[in-house]
């Protein structure tokens, strides 16, 4: 028998799962297996805490926090370790074809620690402000600023001084 929670959760999954998978894919630097795991974990936690989620002033922020917590969960730490870095940062391609940059971006994201990667994704893909990003990561705004600055520096190392990075 379906409860009200079930009905609401069902609607939530149908409408939001695809977006969650995309976010999780970015947070895991393109690791589809781990992204799916994060989404499943996040949805399970949301179902269990559904009343609290429903009462949240900022439901989107709530979901982001749950997702980040799943990413950084102690029990999953070693999952993330499977995102093993490449032995060396890939050398910058002589010519920036799109495929080269995409591959380089993926490799560069993999090089970033997960929380730094999350800061970058929330700030520069989802256009969250520093405060909302800090809320998602459970850290200070100053930490968000320093993390994103370092993330961009590392991306520049891999991708070169690209116009889209130079303006950030």
């Amino acid at each position: 028998m379906k409860t009200e929670r079930d009905e609401q959760f069902h609607q939530f999954v149908v409408s939001r799962r695809a977006a969650l998978v995309r976010t999780a894919t970015l947070l895991t630097a393109g690791d589809a297996h781990l992204a799916e795991d994060l989404v499943q974990s996040t949805l399970t936690k949301l179902y269990v805490a559904w009343p609290a989620f429903q009462r949240a002033d900022n439901p989107d922020g709530y979901v982001r926090r749950v997702l980040v917590n799943a990413l950084t969960d102690e029990r999953r730490r070693w999952w993330r370790r499977s995102e093993r870095s490449m032995a060396e940062v890939p050398e910058r391609a002589a010519a920036h074809h799109e495929g080269d940059v995409s591959d380089g971006l993926r490799a560069a994201l993999k090089e970033l620690p997960p929380r730094m990667r999350a800061a970058l994704v929330f700030r520069y893909f989802y256009d969250l402000d520093v405060a909302d990003t800090a809320d998602a990561l459970g850290c200070s705004e100053g930490t968000v600023k320093s993390q994103t600055a370092r993330a961009l520096d590392r991306l520049r190392t891999v991708l070169g001084v690209h116009p889209s990075l130079a303006t950030l």
Binding site: R17, T44, S102
Partner: protein, 221 residues
């Protein structure tokens, strides 16, 4: 030319609508987790509930009841209840030694599922999941990430003459993490997935038979 947002959008992939099966599976996982939580709450973390759950998991994991003639390695206690937990019988490891580590003992009925540059994964021989990077229901050995700073907080222990720290993440019942200092280089880590029924002594007994070689490489992140 590609900008950062476009690059990230490409990496995120298309927004694929979930299938009916996916939605149903999400619902089932949620309901199961909620039932589990309510069971624990109803039992108030009672000794019976915890012991019964651990025993059931151990039974399922080992594929049967322990042989009465077997001598358990040790009888440990859960951190939350003080109740005796099922023990793990360790047997001599006779297979090929994995790169990066050497093993003296493995749980009876388990095997080295695989090893790569930085992770050694052990699982029951009949485990359906053969992905060495999926740690659910398994025991994993590796070196501490270079990005992990500071000293882990937990019970101070000694493993193979080296100091270590043993603990559990919040919400774990019989899942453990163990860090063991090495004469040089990063600490060795052992992770026992929650629900396997390992006691503290089981973890230490297993870890005592794990040795890091110079080929082991720490991870990052």
């Amino acid at each position: 030319m590609i900008n950062l947002k476009d690059g990230l959008a490409g990496l995120a992939g298309p927004a694929a609508e979930p299938t009916t099966d996916q939605v149903a599976a999400d619902m089932a996982r949620g309901r199961k987790a909620l039932r589990r939580r309510r069971l624990v709450q109803a039992g108030g973390g009672s000794a019976f509930a915890v012991a019964a759950l651990a025993a059931a998991v151990a039974f399922a994991t080992t594929g049967g009841a322990p042989n009465a003639t077997e001598t358990p390695l040790a009888t440990g206690t859960t951190a939350t209840s003080g109740v005796a937990a099922p023990s793990v019988k360790l047997v001599a490891y006779t297979g090929d030694q994995p790169e990066g580590f050497t093993l003296d003992k493995v749980p009876d009925g388990w095997e080295v599922q695989g090893v790569d540059a930085g992770v050694l994964t052990l699982a029951p021989k009949n485990a359906k999941d053969k992905d060495i990077h999926n740690f659910v229901g398994k025991v994993v050995v590796m070196l501490q990430s270079l990005d992990e700073k500071g000293t882990p907080q937990g019970d101070k222990v000694e493993v193979g003459g080296n100091p270590g720290v043993l603990g559990k993440a919040e919400g774990m019942t019989t899942g453990w993490w163990l860090y063991v200092d090495q004469p040089s280089g990063p600490r060795m880590q052992v992770q026992v997935w929650d629900g396997l029924g390992w006691s503290k002594t089981d973890v230490l007994g297993f870890a005592d038979g794990v040795h890091v070689t110079e080929d082991a490489k720490p991870g990052v992140g």
